[in-house]
């Protein structure tokens, strides 16, 4: 809880300096992938490797969610046979991975981004369009 408290404190004290949006990468089709290009606005705040690592892990997690493996086929066939009513009672594989992603982003924020005055927003809150990185003003925050 201590980490979330400091996150809220930061939001209270700091004003938003800018927002950077990491757009989707469509080179492999409509699967959910984000561009790993390092935005120039973050150069002074965070290490390039670290940021790219975060985005790459997110991409891998989304690929896992949308993977066409045997598990998803079994789930799909079972759903089809029951006229898709299982979706009303069961949590789908995709939703389970989304929870994992939310936890990962929370973890990354607590460990890496908040201490540097940054905040990652879960892409699902932006309709899986962008990864929003909020840059807070660097006032009394220690680096």
């Amino acid at each position: 809880m201590a980490e979330t408290h400091s996150l809220q404190d930061m939001r209270q004290q700091a004003a938003v300096a800018a927002k950077v949006f990491i757009q989707r990468d469509y080179t492999n089709g409509t699967v959910c992938q984000f561009q790993t290009k390092f935005p120039s606005e973050l150069e002074t705040r965070i290490d390039k490797q670290q940021f790219e690592e975060t985005v790459r892990t997110l991409n891998n997690l989304y690929a896992e969610a949308e993977k066409l493996g045997s598990q998803s086929y079994i789930e799909g066939c079972l759903a089809c046979l029951t006229a898709y009513t299982v979706f009303l009672c069961m949590e789908t594989h995709y939703e389970k991975v989304l929870k994992k992603i939310a936890k990962y982003i929370q973890e990354q924020n607590d460990k890496i981004y908040t201490p540097r005055g940054l905040l990652l927003t879960d892409p699902i809150e932006r309709g899986l369009r962008v990864v929003e990185v909020t840059i807070f003003e660097d006032r009394s925050l220690t680096r």
Binding site: T4, Q8, R11, Q12, Q13, A15, V16, K19, F21, R24, Y26, T27, N28, G29, T30, A65, E66, K67, L68, S72, Y73, E75, G76, C77, A79, C80, A83, Y84, T85, F87, T92, H93, Y94, E95, L98, I124, E125, R126, G127, L128, R129, V130, E132
Partner: protein, 386 residues
């Protein structure tokens, strides 16, 4: 395309979040305040209607969904009343079982197609929209693109143009189209089906396909059973007229099934072809990948294997709904609330209140909008008013 004049976003008018008293974590539960926490469906900008507190979503006009449902119920009802008793006696008792199973399947898939989110993309937040604007303005005009803004991307070695949606203020992802009836961008947009009263898109295509396939089986099955029934009754020189007089319901069923079985079978066949080649109705009609313009174009989304294409469409992972209808609106003075308030004013400006409960809810919403919202809402007047 609707009347969409582009409105320049004024970065100065962007709402700046003011520091708040100990705010709750984003997306948490209701606050214990006299103000009722609202759910996101209540401020949804599209032309959809919501029921059961956001659980059910339909298009603004239900189209002919009541007719579709009525026809199915009436035909099946007549079948069970008039034909089944005779056929059970003279043939086999499997007939009502099979008929019943098909009927249940059809109704369930129809309701799922009509009442689920087809894959609506939520509109861009003001910050996102401003960011895209900036990029467009700063880029030197190196290509010969006319004002309708497009962006080209390379997908599996195929050039695909992404269009900018003026209503939703974002570049549409590939295969996404803006439905003017619902006023939403829908992912993997197939078509807006008036028979089910909803768009058919990424999330409900499999329900739709299952619906039309099972409906064609049901229609063919009823047609076959009714023909058999009448033929059996007319045996022994009694004649067809006698048979129809004895079972008038069968006549109605015969007419309905005869006229609908061809179109439904045709539709099922067409959609089976679409599923096997991983195409949408939209793409097929526009001829996006048929190489009409003479270029060597292939469908970049197809897996080049009929079996894999079918499995992907019908048994692939179920994508989540991106609009989070039942989530609570953050009630603190965050950018989200500001944008929601702006959307509320836009809703008022549109004069189309599609929230269940009508105007009373909107009045309530306007009365309780928090005062220190710095940005004048007018800068976000939605350009695509009906």
């Amino acid at each position: 395309m609707k009347n969409c004049e582009y409105q320049q976003i004024d970065p100065q008018a962007l709402p700046i979040p003011t520091p708040t008293p100990p705010a709750q974590h984003n997306g948490s539960d209701k606050r214990e305040e006299p103000r009722r926490a609202r759910r996101k469906w209540e401020v949804f900008p599209g032309k959809n209607r919501f029921y059961c507190d956001g659980r059910i979503i339909v298009a603004r006009q239900s189209g002919v969904l009541p007719l579709t449902l009525g026809l199915i119920l009436v035909t099946s009802g007549l079948f069970f009343i008039f034909d089944c008793p005779f056929l059970v006696k003279h043939l086999t008792s499997c007939i009502p079982v099979i008929g019943g199973g098909l009927f249940v399947f059809v109704v369930i898939t129809l309701l799922q197609t009509s009442f689920s989110d087809p894959g609506i993309l939520p509109r861009a937040t003001p910050d996102e929209a401003a960011d895209i604007e900036k990029q467009i303005d700063n880029t030197g005009n190196t290509s010969y693109r006319p004002p309708p803004r497009t962006k080209e991307v390379l997908i599996n070695q195929q050039v695909v143009k992404l269009k900018y949606c003026f209503t939703c203020k974002m570049f549409r992802p590939p295969r996404t189209s803006h439905c003017s009836l619902c006023d939403n961008c829908v992912e993997r947009f197939d078509h807006h089906c008036p028979w089910v009263g909803n768009c058919v898109g990424k999330r409900n295509y499999r329900f739709f396909y299952t619906f039309i396939v099972s409906l064609s089986f049901l229609t063919a099955f009823i047609f076959g059973c009714v023909t058999t029934h009448l033929a059996l009754r007319a045996q022994g020189g009694k004649g067809l007229v006698f048979a129809l007089q004895e079972s008038p319901g069968s006549a109605v069923e015969l007419v309905i099934c005869f006229f609908s079985v061809w179109s439904i079978l045709g539709l099922s066949g067409f959609h089976t072809y679409l599923v096997a080649s991983n195409l949408t109705t939209n793409e097929d009609i526009k001829g996006s990948w048929s190489g009409k313009s003479g270029e060597d174009v292939t469908n970049p989304y197809s897996h080049k294997n009929i079996f894999i294409n079918c499995c992907t469409m019908l048994c692939g992972p179920m994508p989540p709904s991106l609009i989070d209808r039942r989530g609570f609106l953050p009630t603190d003075e965050s950018v989200q609330t500001a944008s929601t308030d702006i959307e509320l004013s836009t809703l008022a400006a549109k004069n189309e209140i599609n929230v269940v409960g009508g105007s009373s809810q909107l009045v309530y919403g306007l009365q309780e909008s928090p005062s220190p919202v710095p940005a004048p809402p007018n800068s976000y007047q939605n350009s695509s008013s009906a």
